[in-house]
């Protein structure tokens, strides 16, 4: 890593990766990565497709298991947790999938009610309705409540996906390419939404993106990944002025 590290070390690290490695057969995807996410910060991870960004955040939520290295979330070593402990940890982490991953057999309302009923075990319909209405207003889509996912545009699906994740009020958000495939206006709206979620709920976020506008709008700190390792770290301004041509090329 040839860039100066810019992290507010006074804040508590909510995620800590140390020498993480992950391979699929002979394909070595993560080659010794180390990083920290500090409380309340937006950390943007950039890099070419296939460099292991999504694999890294899937390891964080326990969807994939690392081969080597240490992965701590809220101080707990993820790969040593029992199924029940992992489930409890996951409630504190939100994950926005690239496609939104809405349950396509359910309406928007049912999508939003699902985590409230199945995870928080709420049964009071009035309370559930209030939470659903509040979060839908938060993402600016109160009229979509009775629509099916197939009736929504790509941007709307991502907003509802974000709403479904945020309805559990997670402390950490992991965004997997939140603006990919969206027009510039919708991308800007999603970036503003990420910022408003950070301000409103004080979440710490890792945002994986190729979108420079999204990175500029949301990042407190940027990590650049290449071939399974982090090759640079800093603010957008610092990375734009990097001596390394490869890193500068991301910001052109």
């Amino acid at each position: 890593m040839d860039e100066q590290i810019h992290t507010d070390t006074n804040k508590e690290a909510v995620i800590k990766l140390e020498h993480l490695k992950k391979s699929f057969g002979s394909n070595e995807v993560l080659r010794d990565i180390s990083m920290e996410l500090r409380k309340g910060e937006n950390l943007v991870v950039m890099g070419r497709s296939g460099t292991g960004k999504s694999v890294a955040i899937k390891c964080i939520v326990g969807l994939l298991c690392q081969d080597e290295g240490s992965l701590r979330v809220f101080g707990e070593e993820v790969d040593t947790l029992s199924e029940e402990e992992l489930r409890k940890l996951r409630i504190r982490i939100g994950f926005l999938f690239q496609s939104g991953a809405l349950y396509d057999s359910m309406t928007v309302r049912e999508n939003l009610e699902f985590p409230l009923r199945k995870v928080l075990h709420l049964n009071d319909q009035k309370d559930i309705d209030e939470r659903v209405t509040e979060i839908l207003e938060g993402v600016g889509l109160p009229d979509a409540i009775d629509k099916m996912p197939s009736e929504l545009s790509g941007g709307m699906r991502k907003r509802i996906g974000l709403a479904r994740t945020m309805i559990l009020k997670p402390e950490i958000m992991l965004y997997d390419e939140p603006t990919t495939g969206l027009d510039p206006i919708t991308s800007r709206e999603i970036s503003e939404l990420i910022l408003s979620m950070q301000e409103r709920y004080q979440v710490s976020s890792i945002i994986i993106t190729h979108d420079i506008a999204c990175a500029k709008a949301t990042a407190n700190r940027v990590l650049v990944m290449d071939k399974g390792t982090f090759v640079a770290e800093g603010t957008i301004d610092e990375l734009e002025k990097s001596d390394n041509e490869f890193i500068r090329s991301f910001f052109k």
Partner: protein, 257 residues
Amino acid sequence: MLQAFTISIKRVFEEAGDQFYFAARFFRNIFRLDFEWNEFIRQCYLVGYKSFPLVGITGFIVGFVMTLQAQPTMKAFGAESFIPKMVSISIIREICPVIIALICAGKISSGVGAELGSMKVTEQIDAMEVSGANPVQYLVVTRILACTIMVPLLTLMADALGLAGSYVGININGIVTPILFFHKAFSSVEFGDLLPAVFKTVFFGFAIGFVGCYKGYNTGRGTESVGLAANSAVVSASLWIIVIDAIAVQLTSALGF
């Protein structure tokens, strides 16, 4: 050559291990207090009610065709009056359970495989898992139990419709009253004919649900994998049905049924 053989053997053991782990997750989640009753009832409706027309028509035609095929031979021996007995025992003991299970493997197992496979490919199962919900309990347990309960019921209904089909078939070339037909049909059917047949359909239903869920839940990447999951679900479930049937026949013979 030896290396390819070693790899194949390794894959077989890996697959067996994965299936064993999946089965363990299923059984561990059955006994949880927060059972998904609503989803279970919805799956019973989808598996049972939605399959009924296909299963019913099949059962009726099986009885009808068996009767028409048997009539010339039985007539040559002057044994036409044995047709109701022969058809009822054949249908109840063997033909309907196996044929209905194979039809359910084609309809239900592929449907479940494709549904869960597409949910896997579009990351819906991952989304459920990372939200802290329990996808095995919500998606897998409900579907397997629904199949385990509904396939025997569908088979019983197909048995009844098969006998109705036989009655219609016998009346094409002559007139037999319903009372006489069903009296003759049930005079030779004993509880020992029905019980093992129903019992094995419970296992058929479990195999249909389990294989569909396993193949769908473990789908690879891309839409091609969904088709492969649905296809291999049908093939594996059909194979399991034949194997279970062979074991059940041996067991029932050994137990004197």
